[in-house]
Amino acid sequence: MAEESAMACSHSDQLTAYVDGELALPERRELEEHLKSCVSCPGELAILRQTAEQLSALPAIEPSADLRRRVLHGVDASPTSVGRSWFAQWLTPVVSLAVAAALAVLIIHIAPRPAPRDRSLDSADVTLAENLDLMKDLPVVASADLSDSDLEVVAILDQLEKAE
């Protein structure tokens, strides 16, 4: 098998994944076979292994005790829905629906509506009644086919006029 140059080895980008145990079995076997003949990959592999070991031994920063206090205090003070029981969470949509329904009823009741009709007669109504009454006496009108309801209206208006 021909040796490959240090700069051009196409297997180089597999090496870190190999160190990390992230290669599938066929890829791993292929790389291990390649390592037997490549002039650059074994050296690079050693560097990567060494670096991974160095880094894993590196000490970490320890968070301050104040951070814990701040976060847990923030949780206590957080205006969030978290912290409610399942019942409270279930209740929310029910309450929302109830509030929406109540609002709808309220709006219907307080919405501006047309003012009720004034049942008292104004002067125009009285004039109309008088005219209708007079017209009734005219021969043309008297012979006209007035319906019962027309005559009833005239009679009611007449009564109202007298009542005033």
Binding site: T16, D20, I47, P59, A60, V75, S78, T80
Partner: protein, 190 residues
Amino acid sequence: MLDPDAELMLAVKGGDPRAFAKLFDKHARSLVNFAYRFVGDRARAEELAQDVFMKIYRSASSYQPSAKFKTYLFRVATNHCMNERRRGVYHAPHESAEERPLELASVDNASPEQFTHGREMQAALGVALEALSPRERAAFSMCRFEGMAYKDIADALETSEAAVKSLIHRATLAVARHLEPFGGPQVAHG
């Protein structure tokens, strides 16, 4: 089957604040160190970690355990830290070992020489990280310091495993060059 952290998060969603304290205790150190590798300042790293925890808490009511909790946590953290880098100016290298000794964990059994060596390496790592792209930095940190699988890193970065493989390989080689003075094989330059 849900991972234990997802179970805790569901308990948070159900209103159990003690479950959130447990999640904090489990992940605070990882998150502070992850943020530190973006901003190089311990106090700012803690503020970023605090922001991330509060984001997680405030969105608990809509949490769905579709991925591992840690993946979800680091997705939020990566986005937050990248945004912070975009907003802020972080030209200064990470805190030097001389100027401001870090509060380091896992040093109980370390000799003074080992402790100093560790701090110097931490500073060299900080310089190396400055040269990486944000995505390389995030993928590298999740892999090297959190031991996360490439698949989970891909989920956190919302990219493919092949892309993650490439990001981690490039970043590890770049960091290796900066760690040469601390021993180990020579890295080919160029």
